[in-house]
């Protein structure tokens, strides 16, 4: 598992979601990338019943890059506890139904997946209950496992095809973990960070 950076790509008013994906696909292919299938990251959210005391939220997420795993994040009184489990965890959540109920609508990011040398690029359209919300670009640099050592390299790569929307600082979530070994859970946490932002915003996120 290499270091992965998730980056929002700004939507322009005169461009639809598929047009934006097309536009980025052309750029990535021009760099020499080859399309290798599709990808999907999804997130279901469960809320605890009021009788259980303070409100707790469980986000259950899947990533097609790790198809045998279920990633769960429990948000409870300011803490976030991650859990990686195998596929049957979904069955357990069904058993939990009276106590934890699926409240919010499903968030997904899906689209084409590209490979370029040791990079893996994913262009995802984010939808909340099938409504288009924006474009998330994921870039993974697979040979490197420590974010601090390859952030500059990844930023150079991202700027190379996304332009000036790439910030000079690493994503907020990664900043305290720059010297740790990167885990698949770290990608999931970045997705959750972005998904929450899309949920809070009404309509398509605009950057002008």
């Amino acid at each position: 598992m290499g270091v992965t950076i998730l980056q929002q790509f700004p939507m322009l008013e005169n461009r639809t979601g598929p047009q934006t994906i097309d536009f980025l696909t052309k750029r990535v292919v021009a760099l020499g990338a080859i399309q290798c299938g599709q990808f999907l990251v999804d997130c279901d959210t469960y809320m605890s019943t009021p009788s259980l005391g303070p409100q707790r939220t469980v986000h259950v997420m899947h990533n097609s890059e790790q198809p045998a795993s279920v990633f769960s994040l429990l948000e409870s009184s300011g803490k976030t506890i991650p859990l990686v489990a195998d596929g049957l965890f979904d069955l357990l959540m069904l058993k939990m139904t009276p106590i934890y109920t699926k409240k919010q609508t499903k968030v997904e990011s899906k689209g084409p997946r590209f490979e370029l040398a040791d990079f893996c690029i994913k262009l995802g359209s984010v939808t909340i209950s099938q409504n288009f919300k924006g474009v998330l670009v994921e870039v993974e640099y697979r040979p490197c496992v420590v974010p601090a050592t390859c952030w500059d390299l990844l930023r150079e790569f991202l700027q190379g095809f996304l332009g000036s929307c790439v910030p000079s600082m690493p994503p907020q979530y990664l900043q305290p973990r720059m010297n740790e070994i990167y885990q698949p859970m770290d990608t999931i946490q970045q997705y959750l960070e972005h998904f929450s932002m899309y949920r809070k915003a009404s309509g398509v996120l605009q950057f002008n």
Binding site: Q35, C36, G37, Q38, F39, L40, D42, S48, T49, S51, L52, G53, R56, V58, H62, S64, P67, V70, S72, L74, S76, K79, I81, P82, L83, V84, A85, D86, G87, L88, F89, D90, L91, L92, K95, M96, P98, I99, Y100, K110, P112
Partner: protein
């Protein structure tokens, strides 16, 4: 260009539909006193598949959690969850296990207990996760013993040790002067033929150990 990715939920419901998820546990239980355990182990070594390699040993820590839905009526059924980890292999995944209500205890025609069971491999954060989710840890213990295989059947001979708060794992004391013997199979729903195989195998262990259906409801209530 390529097939769109199917969602995890689609995959799971497809697996459920084709009934390939082993979610039923068939179980028989018994016990044997310490002095007789060597004879039983000897017998099992002869009967089971892993003859050449000898029995596999284990040294596990098990924690039992429950969560109750208060709004679930007058006498709500708690949801039982167990977390098990191998003390001798600290890098192995932890095991989270859901255990449902047992059926077949009163039914003479069914040779074994049948209960719903979901086994899930997880990361080591599972205890924190369950605790924060609102689960309560009821009790915990150390289980050490031997594991045998016979076809799809699993036979465990386990010594159970008490765990006190603040005690080191080396100085634990046994809970009784006997070993717990369990014969179990995890299978997809509807494979009741295996229960008959288990009954026949249990017959072969008589009279060293008597394996039978234990009705938990008829046991005296435990704990506070």
């Amino acid at each position: 260009m390529s097939q769109p990715v199917s969602t995890a939920v689609d995959n799971l419901s497809a697996a459920l539909k084709s009934n390939i998820i082993p979610n039923q546990e068939y179980l028989l239980q018994g016990s044997v006193v310490d002095t007789a355990v060597e004879v039983l182990l000897h017998r099992l070594r002869g009967l089971c598949d892993n003859v050449d390699s000898g029995p596999e040993t284990f040294n596990d820590h098990e924690m039992c959690f429950s969560i109750v839905n208060v709004e679930g009526g007058a006498s709500p059924q708690p949801l039982l969850l167990r977390v098990r980890r191998a003390l001798d292999y600290p890098d192995m995944p932890w095991q989270l296990r859901y255990i449902g209500q047992q059926e077949g205890t009163g039914d003479k025609s069914r040779p074994t207990i049948v209960r719903n069971s979901i086994d899930i491999g997880t990361s080591s954060t599972v205890v924190d996760f369950l605790t924060e989710m609102g689960c309560r840890m009821d009790f915990e213990y150390i289980a050490r013993g031997y594991m045998f295989r016979k076809g799809r059947m699993k036979i465990t001979v386990t010594k159970i040790f008490k765990m006190g708060p603040g005690k080191s794992l080396d100085s634990v004391e046994p809970i009784s002067q006997s070993y717990l013997v369990e014969l179990s199979v995890l299978a997809p729903t509807g494979q009741d033929a295996i229960a008959e195989d288990m009954r026949i195998f249990a017959e072969q262990l008589r009279p060293l150990v008597v394996l039978e259906k234990v009705d938990y409801k008829r046991l005296p209530p435990m704990g506070p």
